[in-house]
């Protein structure tokens, strides 16, 4: 039709800025803040902390040197990273699958929702951390126990976001499906699931972060079994090896950020064509 009715894709071609200039605008602020943080870190160590206490904030270059260029520390930290990462990822997948099944069942049946949702809420309100020692007694310091911890910590926000997505389908679209006598499966498959995708990815993103926390918490409680990052961090703190302690913290953060970013990337791939908020991100 005529050009007055065209609203085109949100094309962002502001002036004739070059690729390099774009990069500076997009990534500049983040790099700047990172530089500031490192600067303050050095400042803390060399200026603000007194001579006798500055060892509790080792400067960044010593952290990297001690954690990642020392072969003992490096292999220890790497082992912990792999073990904790494996638990977090395994827990994440199991939590996501359980949450998905639960949310679909609750979205389809009001009775199921009434029966199941209070339990999900209860999971959220009881401090799962308090149960970890009990799980250790029941199942031993195994990968299984750690994964269970992960799942229990992470599942609630995933379920609620999934369920919210499945249930907040546009009223008119539901009427349309009803008008044309679509059955529950068609409604679920062609309307509710795709409509819920943005909320599903939100749930997965939150869940991924929580799974890393769950895995670390399990580590803290386990002095036996696989060596995890949480236990290493604990050990280094007790041995006053603050450089390596920081190294462990950095790796743990990296794990969380990596999972979060991976899901964000997938979400963007899936949603960018049609979802209002996706596709324009830097």
């Amino acid at each position: 039709m005529s050009s007055t009715e065209q609203n085109g894709p949100s094309v962002v071609a502001i002036g004739s800025r070059g690729v390099l200039a774009d990069k500076v605008v997009n990534y500049g602020p983040v790099v700047l803040v990172a530089g500031l943080v490192v600067g303050v870190w050095y400042l803390m160590h060399y200026v603000i902390m007194g001579e006798r206490r500055r060892f509790i904030i080792p400067p960044p270059h010593r952290v990297i040197d001690e954690s990642f260029f020392n072969s003992t520390a490096r292999s220890e930290l790497f082992e912990g990273f792999v073990n904790t990462g494996r638990v977090a990822i395994l827990g994440f997948f199991i939590a996501a699958i359980l949450a998905f099944v639960g949310a679909v069942v609750m979205a389809l049946s009001r009775i199921a929702e009434r029966a199941l949702f209070p339990w999900a809420v209860m999971l959220q309100t009881i401090p799962v951390i308090a149960l970890v020692p009990l799980f250790r007694v029941w199942f031993g310091p195994t990968v299984k126990t750690r994964v269970i911890t992960c799942v229990l910590v992470a599942i609630f926000p995933i379920v609620t976001n999934f369920l919210f997505g499945l249930k907040s389908v546009d009223r008119g679209q539901l009427d349309l499906f009803r008008l044309h006598q679509a059955n529950w499966w068609t409604r679920l498959w062609k309307l509710q699931l795709p409509s819920a995708l943005p909320a599903i990815f939100t749930g997965l993103r939150i869940g991924a972060g929580l799974c890393v926390i769950g895995a670390l918490v399990a580590d803290f409680f386990f002095t036996r079994g696989d060596l995890g990052l949480g236990r290493l961090i604990n050990n280094y703190a007790q041995e006053l090896q603050y450089e390596r302690l920081f190294g462990g913290v950095i790796l743990a953060s990296l794990l969380g950020v990596a999972l979060y970013a991976l899901i964000g990337w997938i979400a963007n791939r899936v949603l960018r064509d049609w979802h209002e908020t996706e596709g324009n991100a830097a």
């Binding site: 009715e5 609203n7 044309h180 049609w274």
Partner: protein, 259 residues
Amino acid sequence: MSNHIAHTATSQQARGDTRLSFNNVQMVYPDGTNALEDISFDVAAGEFVTVVGPSGCGKSTLLKIASGLLDHTGGDVAIDRDSIGYVFQDATLLPFRTVQRNVELIAELHGMPKAERRPLAAEAIELVNLKGHEKKYPKQLSGGMRMRCSLARSLVMKPEVFLFDEPFGALDEISRERLNAEVLSLFKQENFAALFITHSVAEAVFLSTRVLVMSAHPGRIIDDIDIPFDFPREHDLRYTPEFGEIAARVSHGLLEAHA
């Protein structure tokens, strides 16, 4: 006024090929609200009946009952439920489907295989002037284009009855007039029966072969006006004295309805 209604109601029936028939329809909501009282009218193929009325008079209820989305509490409704095109207040497009796949949706829900619905959808897209936009997603379309897409979606199954629930209320004046013209050309081309809900007097008179004015609490038909203008109707019909006269009558009916 009331004997006038009775007259036209019977004369409409005489025209034959009735596609939608309301007979003393009554709607009382569970909370006791009397939404519709004693509504009777027919819509035949080639008739374009518009219902105007103040907000809350039960116009939308009327349409929901016609479509079967809502059950009425009294009287009879006759319509072929399998041959309804329903155009909603919003375009209700699925945001995750392209224009092409949105237009195919209803045919898909009725189990039509892909090879069959593809060409039908292409035809409907061409009819509403959306050719070239097939691969776009709803977020890339303007309000007017979304409404066109919604029209095309309903056209695919070539329904015998079209129900319009204030479809152009959210559009600007120009888009609305343009879509009015397009709806009329589709109407002449496909010869469906149309029941159209609006609160715009000009839209009602321009589109219709017959206008019903409703009052609220309870929703009743208080005036029934035949619109004599021939088709095709040109844009400037809106500025003729005859059009003004009829619009004035509808408008006075609405004032009465509000009183």
